[in-house]
Protein backbone atom coordinates (compact mmCIF):
# COMPACT_ATOMS: atom_id res chain seq x y z
CA UNK A 1 0.00 0.00 0.00
CA UNK A 2 2.83 2.33 0.82
CA UNK A 3 4.38 1.60 -2.57
CA UNK A 4 1.21 2.60 -4.32
CA UNK A 5 1.09 5.80 -2.32
CA UNK A 6 4.62 6.90 -3.09
CA UNK A 7 4.04 6.23 -6.77
CA UNK A 8 1.11 8.58 -6.59
CA UNK A 9 3.23 11.36 -5.14
CA UNK A 10 5.91 10.94 -7.81
CA UNK A 11 3.31 10.94 -10.52
CA UNK A 12 1.81 14.14 -9.14
CA UNK A 13 5.22 15.79 -9.05
CA UNK A 14 5.89 15.01 -12.71
CA UNK A 15 2.48 16.20 -13.72
CA UNK A 16 2.83 19.45 -11.82
CA UNK A 17 6.29 20.37 -13.09
CA UNK A 18 5.62 19.51 -16.71
CA UNK A 19 3.78 22.71 -17.51
CA UNK A 20 5.59 25.94 -18.21
CA UNK A 21 3.82 29.06 -19.22
CA UNK A 22 4.56 32.24 -21.05
CA UNK A 23 2.70 35.00 -19.20
CA UNK A 24 3.46 37.63 -21.85
CA UNK A 25 2.40 35.80 -25.00
CA UNK A 26 -0.87 37.74 -24.99
CA UNK A 27 0.89 41.12 -25.34
CA UNK A 28 0.47 42.97 -28.61
CA UNK A 29 3.60 44.10 -30.44
CA UNK A 30 3.24 47.65 -29.16
CA UNK A 31 2.54 46.50 -25.63
CA UNK A 32 5.57 44.25 -25.64
CA UNK A 33 7.89 47.12 -26.51
CA UNK A 34 10.26 48.41 -23.87
CA UNK A 35 11.90 51.81 -24.07
CA UNK A 36 15.07 52.18 -22.06
CA UNK A 37 16.86 55.52 -21.90
CA UNK A 38 20.07 56.56 -20.15
CA UNK A 39 21.61 60.00 -20.00
CA UNK A 40 24.56 61.85 -18.56
CA UNK A 41 23.17 63.87 -15.66
CA UNK A 42 26.09 66.31 -15.72
CA UNK A 43 25.20 67.55 -19.19
CA UNK A 44 22.99 70.58 -19.79
CA UNK A 45 21.31 69.88 -23.11
CA UNK A 46 20.27 73.51 -23.51
CA UNK A 47 23.82 74.34 -24.66
CA UNK A 48 23.26 72.41 -27.92
CA UNK A 49 21.63 73.85 -30.99
CA UNK A 50 22.55 71.70 -33.97
CA UNK A 51 22.85 68.03 -34.76
CA UNK A 52 23.88 65.76 -37.55
CA UNK A 53 23.00 62.16 -38.11
CA UNK A 54 25.05 59.34 -39.57
CA UNK A 55 23.71 58.62 -43.07
CA UNK A 56 23.38 54.91 -42.48
CA UNK A 57 22.54 52.53 -39.70
CA UNK A 58 25.10 50.48 -37.85
CA UNK A 59 24.25 46.79 -37.92
CA UNK A 60 25.71 44.75 -35.11
CA UNK A 61 25.23 41.01 -35.17
CA UNK A 62 26.92 39.20 -32.33
CA UNK A 63 30.64 39.97 -32.83
CA UNK A 64 30.34 41.39 -36.34
CA UNK A 65 29.29 44.86 -37.35
CA UNK A 66 28.83 46.92 -40.47
CA UNK A 67 26.54 49.57 -41.87
CA UNK A 68 23.35 49.35 -43.91
CA UNK A 69 20.76 51.60 -45.47
CA UNK A 70 17.65 49.63 -46.24
CA UNK A 71 14.16 51.15 -46.57
CA UNK A 72 13.66 50.26 -42.94
CA UNK A 73 16.79 52.16 -41.96
CA UNK A 74 15.79 55.21 -44.00
CA UNK A 75 12.42 55.30 -42.28
CA UNK A 76 14.08 55.10 -38.89
CA UNK A 77 16.56 57.84 -39.75
CA UNK A 78 13.82 60.19 -40.93
CA UNK A 79 11.69 59.47 -37.83
CA UNK A 80 14.59 60.44 -35.60
CA UNK A 81 15.42 63.57 -37.66
CA UNK A 82 11.81 64.74 -37.49
CA UNK A 83 11.66 64.20 -33.74
CA UNK A 84 14.99 65.97 -33.12
CA UNK A 85 13.73 68.98 -35.11
CA UNK A 86 10.50 69.10 -33.14
CA UNK A 87 12.59 69.12 -29.96
CA UNK A 88 14.29 72.33 -31.14
CA UNK A 89 17.49 71.08 -32.78
CA UNK A 90 18.61 72.12 -36.24
CA UNK A 91 19.83 69.46 -38.63
CA UNK A 92 23.14 70.34 -40.26
CA UNK A 93 25.69 68.49 -42.36
CA UNK A 94 28.49 66.74 -40.50
CA UNK A 95 30.97 69.23 -42.00
CA UNK A 96 29.19 72.19 -40.37
CA UNK A 97 30.43 71.43 -36.85
CA UNK A 98 27.22 70.11 -35.29
CA UNK A 99 26.91 70.22 -31.51
CA UNK A 100 25.69 66.68 -31.18
CA UNK A 101 25.83 63.60 -33.38
CA UNK A 102 23.18 60.91 -33.59
CA UNK A 103 23.88 57.29 -34.45
CA UNK A 104 21.32 54.56 -34.89
CA UNK A 105 22.16 50.89 -34.57
CA UNK A 106 20.31 47.66 -35.15
CA UNK A 107 21.68 45.09 -32.78
CA UNK A 108 21.05 41.37 -32.89
CA UNK A 109 22.42 39.17 -30.19
CA UNK A 110 22.21 35.42 -30.07
CA UNK A 111 22.65 33.83 -26.71
CA UNK A 112 23.22 30.26 -25.71
CA UNK A 113 21.48 29.87 -22.41
CA UNK A 114 21.94 27.26 -19.78
CA UNK A 115 18.94 26.53 -17.63
CA UNK A 116 19.31 24.54 -14.49
CA UNK A 117 16.89 23.22 -11.98
CA UNK A 118 17.51 25.44 -9.01
CA UNK A 119 18.89 23.98 -5.84
CA UNK A 120 19.58 26.04 -2.80
CA UNK A 121 23.15 26.00 -1.61
CA UNK A 122 21.88 24.66 1.69
CA UNK A 123 22.64 20.98 1.17
CA UNK A 124 25.94 21.65 -0.54
CA UNK A 125 26.99 23.72 2.45
CA UNK A 126 25.64 21.15 4.85
CA UNK A 127 27.97 18.47 3.48
CA UNK A 128 31.01 20.72 3.60
CA UNK A 129 31.04 22.42 0.23
CA UNK A 130 29.67 19.57 -1.86
CA UNK A 131 28.08 20.43 -5.17
CA UNK A 132 25.32 18.57 -6.93
CA UNK A 133 26.18 15.76 -9.31
CA UNK A 134 23.24 15.91 -11.69
CA UNK A 135 24.43 17.28 -15.03
CA UNK A 136 21.33 15.96 -16.76
CA UNK A 137 19.34 18.60 -14.92
CA UNK A 138 20.78 21.24 -17.22
CA UNK A 139 19.17 22.11 -20.48
CA UNK A 140 20.35 24.41 -23.25
CA UNK A 141 18.34 26.76 -25.38
CA UNK A 142 19.17 29.50 -27.82
CA UNK A 143 17.53 32.89 -27.96
CA UNK A 144 18.04 35.74 -30.32
CA UNK A 145 17.07 39.32 -29.71
CA UNK A 146 17.12 42.32 -32.02
CA UNK A 147 16.73 45.88 -30.91
CA UNK A 148 17.23 49.47 -31.96
CA UNK A 149 19.77 51.62 -30.21
CA UNK A 150 19.88 55.39 -30.67
CA UNK A 151 22.82 57.30 -29.23
CA UNK A 152 23.64 60.97 -28.90
CA UNK A 153 27.28 61.98 -28.91
CA UNK A 154 28.68 65.23 -27.56
CA UNK A 155 30.64 66.70 -30.49
CA UNK A 156 30.80 70.20 -29.02
CA UNK A 157 32.85 69.18 -26.00
CA UNK A 158 34.93 66.45 -27.60
CA UNK A 159 37.92 65.48 -25.54
CA UNK A 160 40.83 66.41 -27.81
CA UNK A 161 43.57 64.83 -25.71
CA UNK A 162 42.01 61.39 -25.34
CA UNK A 163 40.17 61.59 -28.70
CA UNK A 164 36.88 60.47 -27.20
CA UNK A 165 33.32 61.49 -27.82
CA UNK A 166 31.04 61.09 -24.85
CA UNK A 167 27.72 59.34 -25.29
CA UNK A 168 25.39 61.69 -23.45
CA UNK A 169 22.14 59.93 -24.21
CA UNK A 170 21.20 56.44 -25.29
CA UNK A 171 17.88 54.86 -26.05
CA UNK A 172 17.14 51.19 -26.56
CA UNK A 173 13.92 50.06 -28.16
CA UNK A 174 13.27 46.41 -27.47
CA UNK A 175 10.39 43.99 -27.83
CA UNK A 176 8.32 42.75 -30.77
CA UNK A 177 7.32 44.42 -34.02
CA UNK A 178 10.51 46.47 -34.26
CA UNK A 179 10.67 46.08 -38.05
CA UNK A 180 7.15 47.41 -38.52
CA UNK A 181 7.55 50.95 -39.93
CA UNK A 182 4.04 51.88 -38.76
CA UNK A 183 5.35 51.87 -35.21
CA UNK A 184 8.48 53.93 -35.85
CA UNK A 185 7.16 57.40 -35.04
CA UNK A 186 5.47 56.12 -31.88
CA UNK A 187 8.63 54.33 -30.79
CA UNK A 188 10.76 57.43 -31.34
CA UNK A 189 8.18 59.66 -29.65
CA UNK A 190 8.25 57.40 -26.61
CA UNK A 191 12.01 57.48 -26.09
CA UNK A 192 12.19 61.26 -26.55
CA UNK A 193 9.12 62.04 -24.46
CA UNK A 194 10.42 60.07 -21.50
CA UNK A 195 13.64 62.11 -21.79
CA UNK A 196 12.18 65.56 -21.19
CA UNK A 197 15.66 67.06 -20.62
CA UNK A 198 16.38 66.71 -24.36
CA UNK A 199 13.83 69.35 -25.29
CA UNK A 200 15.52 72.70 -25.91
CA UNK A 201 12.67 74.77 -27.33
Amino acid sequence: MLKKASFLIIFAAIWLTSCTKDPVNDLTDLDSQVFITNFDKSVNFKQFKTFSIADSVIVVQDDRSGTALTDLDRQMLSSVIAKMQSQGYTCVAASNKPDVGITIARITNTYLNVASTPYSSYYGGFYGGYGYGYPSYYSYYETSESYWSVSMLDLKNANATTKTLNVIWNAQIRGSGLANTDYFSEMINSVFDQSAYLKIN
Binding site: I9, P23, L27, V34, I36, N38, S120
Partner: protein, 219 residues
Protein backbone atom coordinates in the same frame (compact mmCIF):
# COMPACT_ATOMS: atom_id res chain seq x y z
CA UNK B 1 -23.68 -44.32 15.93
CA UNK B 2 -27.34 -43.33 15.72
CA UNK B 3 -26.79 -40.94 18.58
CA UNK B 4 -23.93 -39.35 16.74
CA UNK B 5 -25.99 -38.83 13.61
CA UNK B 6 -28.78 -37.27 15.66
CA UNK B 7 -26.24 -35.07 17.36
CA UNK B 8 -24.85 -34.08 13.95
CA UNK B 9 -28.33 -33.20 12.70
CA UNK B 10 -29.01 -31.22 15.80
CA UNK B 11 -25.75 -29.36 15.39
CA UNK B 12 -26.45 -28.75 11.74
CA UNK B 13 -29.74 -27.26 12.79
CA UNK B 14 -28.25 -25.22 15.59
CA UNK B 15 -25.10 -24.03 13.97
CA UNK B 16 -26.75 -21.69 11.45
CA UNK B 17 -28.98 -20.42 14.20
CA UNK B 18 -25.91 -19.82 16.31
CA UNK B 19 -24.23 -18.03 13.42
CA UNK B 20 -27.31 -15.91 12.90
CA UNK B 21 -27.20 -14.86 16.50
CA UNK B 22 -23.55 -13.88 16.12
CA UNK B 23 -24.02 -12.03 12.87
CA UNK B 24 -25.44 -8.76 14.20
CA UNK B 25 -22.46 -8.41 16.47
CA UNK B 26 -20.13 -8.28 13.44
CA UNK B 27 -21.79 -5.06 12.39
CA UNK B 28 -21.49 -3.47 15.75
CA UNK B 29 -17.71 -3.59 15.50
CA UNK B 30 -16.15 -0.17 15.02
CA UNK B 31 -15.46 0.78 11.42
CA UNK B 32 -12.04 -0.13 10.02
CA UNK B 33 -11.35 3.61 9.88
CA UNK B 34 -11.56 3.61 13.65
CA UNK B 35 -9.59 0.46 14.16
CA UNK B 36 -6.63 0.95 11.83
CA UNK B 37 -4.24 3.59 10.68
CA UNK B 38 -5.73 4.48 7.33
CA UNK B 39 -4.65 6.32 4.20
CA UNK B 40 -6.24 9.40 2.76
CA UNK B 41 -5.48 11.21 -0.46
CA UNK B 42 -6.89 14.67 -1.20
CA UNK B 43 -6.88 16.80 -4.36
CA UNK B 44 -7.55 20.48 -3.86
CA UNK B 45 -8.36 23.58 -5.89
CA UNK B 46 -7.40 26.79 -4.16
CA UNK B 47 -8.28 30.45 -4.37
CA UNK B 48 -5.45 32.57 -2.96
CA UNK B 49 -5.59 36.18 -1.82
CA UNK B 50 -2.25 37.98 -1.40
CA UNK B 51 -1.73 39.67 1.95
CA UNK B 52 0.85 41.81 3.73
CA UNK B 53 3.77 43.34 1.88
CA UNK B 54 3.40 40.83 -0.95
CA UNK B 55 0.04 42.43 -1.67
CA UNK B 56 1.16 46.03 -1.06
CA UNK B 57 4.41 45.95 -3.00
CA UNK B 58 3.97 43.35 -5.69
CA UNK B 59 0.69 41.60 -6.56
CA UNK B 60 -2.72 42.39 -5.09
CA UNK B 61 -4.75 40.28 -7.48
CA UNK B 62 -6.28 37.03 -6.22
CA UNK B 63 -5.28 33.82 -7.94
CA UNK B 64 -7.36 30.77 -8.76
CA UNK B 65 -4.57 28.85 -10.44
CA UNK B 66 -3.56 26.83 -7.45
CA UNK B 67 -3.71 23.08 -7.10
CA UNK B 68 -2.39 20.52 -4.70
CA UNK B 69 -2.48 16.86 -3.88
CA UNK B 70 -1.79 15.45 -0.46
CA UNK B 71 -1.38 12.05 1.05
CA UNK B 72 -1.86 11.44 4.73
CA UNK B 73 -1.75 8.69 7.28
CA UNK B 74 -4.73 8.96 9.63
CA UNK B 75 -3.44 7.68 12.93
CA UNK B 76 -5.51 5.91 15.56
CA UNK B 77 -5.45 8.93 17.81
CA UNK B 78 -6.76 12.37 16.75
CA UNK B 79 -3.77 13.15 14.56
CA UNK B 80 -2.89 12.55 10.96
CA UNK B 81 0.43 13.22 9.27
CA UNK B 82 1.27 13.52 5.62
CA UNK B 83 2.79 15.36 2.72
CA UNK B 84 1.39 17.82 0.25
CA UNK B 85 2.74 18.93 -3.09
CA UNK B 86 1.19 21.86 -4.86
CA UNK B 87 1.39 24.50 -7.52
CA UNK B 88 0.50 28.13 -7.10
CA UNK B 89 0.66 31.00 -9.56
CA UNK B 90 0.16 34.72 -9.10
CA UNK B 91 0.13 37.13 -11.99
CA UNK B 92 -0.67 40.80 -12.38
CA UNK B 93 -0.27 43.12 -15.33
CA UNK B 94 0.28 46.83 -14.86
CA UNK B 95 -0.43 49.48 -17.50
CA UNK B 96 2.50 51.14 -19.24
CA UNK B 97 4.51 53.17 -16.78
CA UNK B 98 7.94 54.73 -16.35
CA UNK B 99 10.41 53.07 -14.00
CA UNK B 100 13.33 55.27 -13.10
CA UNK B 101 16.50 54.34 -11.31
CA UNK B 102 19.50 56.65 -11.37
CA UNK B 103 20.18 57.82 -14.91
CA UNK B 104 17.96 55.16 -16.43
CA UNK B 105 14.32 55.34 -17.36
CA UNK B 106 12.38 52.32 -18.56
CA UNK B 107 8.96 52.58 -20.13
CA UNK B 108 7.17 49.26 -20.17
CA UNK B 109 4.06 47.28 -19.47
CA UNK B 110 4.98 45.25 -16.46
CA UNK B 111 3.77 41.70 -15.92
CA UNK B 112 4.53 40.48 -12.43
CA UNK B 113 4.48 36.77 -11.70
CA UNK B 114 5.32 34.35 -8.94
CA UNK B 115 4.96 30.63 -9.32
CA UNK B 116 5.65 28.12 -6.62
CA UNK B 117 5.80 24.37 -6.20
CA UNK B 118 5.54 23.95 -2.44
CA UNK B 119 6.41 20.54 -1.03
CA UNK B 120 5.39 20.27 2.58
CA UNK B 121 4.92 17.91 5.47
CA UNK B 122 1.91 18.50 7.67
CA UNK B 123 0.22 17.47 10.90
CA UNK B 124 -3.56 17.60 11.35
CA UNK B 125 -5.38 17.48 14.64
CA UNK B 126 -9.01 16.32 14.36
CA UNK B 127 -11.61 17.47 16.87
CA UNK B 128 -14.20 14.76 16.28
CA UNK B 129 -13.91 10.98 15.99
CA UNK B 130 -13.43 9.29 12.64
CA UNK B 131 -16.97 7.94 12.64
CA UNK B 132 -18.30 11.48 12.47
CA UNK B 133 -19.57 12.69 9.10
CA UNK B 134 -18.01 16.10 9.71
CA UNK B 135 -14.42 16.14 10.85
CA UNK B 136 -13.02 19.58 11.59
CA UNK B 137 -9.26 19.88 11.96
CA UNK B 138 -6.39 22.30 12.40
CA UNK B 139 -3.24 21.98 10.36
CA UNK B 140 0.40 22.95 10.66
CA UNK B 141 2.68 22.52 7.67
CA UNK B 142 6.26 23.25 6.73
CA UNK B 143 8.54 22.48 3.84
CA UNK B 144 10.29 23.93 0.84
CA UNK B 145 9.00 25.83 -2.14
CA UNK B 146 10.52 25.72 -5.62
CA UNK B 147 9.98 29.33 -6.47
CA UNK B 148 10.13 31.35 -9.66
CA UNK B 149 9.91 35.13 -9.44
CA UNK B 150 9.73 36.82 -12.82
CA UNK B 151 8.98 40.44 -13.60
CA UNK B 152 8.46 41.06 -17.28
CA UNK B 153 9.16 44.49 -18.72
CA UNK B 154 7.28 44.11 -21.97
CA UNK B 155 8.76 40.89 -23.26
CA UNK B 156 12.02 41.20 -21.31
CA UNK B 157 12.26 39.25 -18.10
CA UNK B 158 13.96 39.72 -14.78
CA UNK B 159 13.89 36.27 -13.27
CA UNK B 160 14.99 34.68 -10.05
CA UNK B 161 14.57 31.02 -9.13
CA UNK B 162 15.12 29.67 -5.66
CA UNK B 163 14.15 26.97 -3.23
CA UNK B 164 12.93 28.72 -0.10
CA UNK B 165 11.39 27.56 3.18
CA UNK B 166 7.61 27.72 3.39
CA UNK B 167 5.06 27.10 6.13
CA UNK B 168 1.36 27.30 6.76
CA UNK B 169 -1.33 27.28 9.43
CA UNK B 170 -4.83 26.19 8.53
CA UNK B 171 -8.27 25.22 9.74
CA UNK B 172 -10.55 22.98 7.78
CA UNK B 173 -13.04 20.21 7.79
CA UNK B 174 -13.64 16.93 6.05
CA UNK B 175 -17.17 16.02 5.05
CA UNK B 176 -17.91 12.36 4.37
CA UNK B 177 -20.38 11.73 1.56
CA UNK B 178 -21.55 8.52 3.27
CA UNK B 179 -21.11 7.16 6.77
CA UNK B 180 -18.02 4.97 6.77
CA UNK B 181 -17.63 5.72 3.08
CA UNK B 182 -14.43 6.21 1.14
CA UNK B 183 -15.13 9.55 -0.50
CA UNK B 184 -15.64 13.00 0.89
CA UNK B 185 -15.10 16.71 0.49
CA UNK B 186 -12.50 18.84 2.18
CA UNK B 187 -12.68 22.57 2.85
CA UNK B 188 -9.67 24.41 4.19
CA UNK B 189 -8.64 27.97 4.93
CA UNK B 190 -4.92 28.38 5.30
CA UNK B 191 -2.37 31.09 5.82
CA UNK B 192 0.70 30.30 3.77
CA UNK B 193 4.03 32.12 3.79
CA UNK B 194 7.29 31.64 1.92
CA UNK B 195 10.43 33.48 2.86
CA UNK B 196 11.89 35.24 -0.17
CA UNK B 197 13.57 38.59 -0.70
CA UNK B 198 14.34 40.06 -4.08
CA UNK B 199 13.67 43.37 -5.79
CA UNK B 200 10.01 44.20 -5.08
CA UNK B 201 9.62 41.54 -2.42
CA UNK B 202 11.02 42.70 0.89
CA UNK B 203 9.45 40.32 3.35
CA UNK B 204 8.33 37.17 1.65
CA UNK B 205 5.25 35.89 -0.10
CA UNK B 206 2.16 35.44 2.03
CA UNK B 207 -1.40 34.64 1.12
CA UNK B 208 -4.69 33.48 2.54
CA UNK B 209 -5.76 30.35 0.70
CA UNK B 210 -9.23 28.86 0.62
CA UNK B 211 -9.44 25.46 -0.95
CA UNK B 212 -12.07 22.92 -1.76
CA UNK B 213 -11.01 19.36 -2.28
CA UNK B 214 -12.10 15.81 -2.78
CA UNK B 215 -10.61 12.99 -0.79
CA UNK B 216 -10.49 9.24 -0.99
CA UNK B 217 -9.57 7.10 1.97
CA UNK B 218 -8.74 3.45 2.25
CA UNK B 219 -7.21 0.94 4.63
Amino acid sequence: MKKLIIAAFLLAGFAPAFAQEQAPKLYTLPSPYDRYTTYLVTARLTGAVPIGSFKNDYIDKASFENYSISLEWVLQNSFSIGGEIGYSYFKQRLPRALYTSGDQTISAIQTRTVSQYPIQAFVNYHFLPKSSAIQPYVQLSAGGSILDYTVYYGSLADQRQKIRPTYGVGVGSKFLFKKDGSFGADVRVKYAATSFKYDYLTSGISSLNTSIGLFYRWW
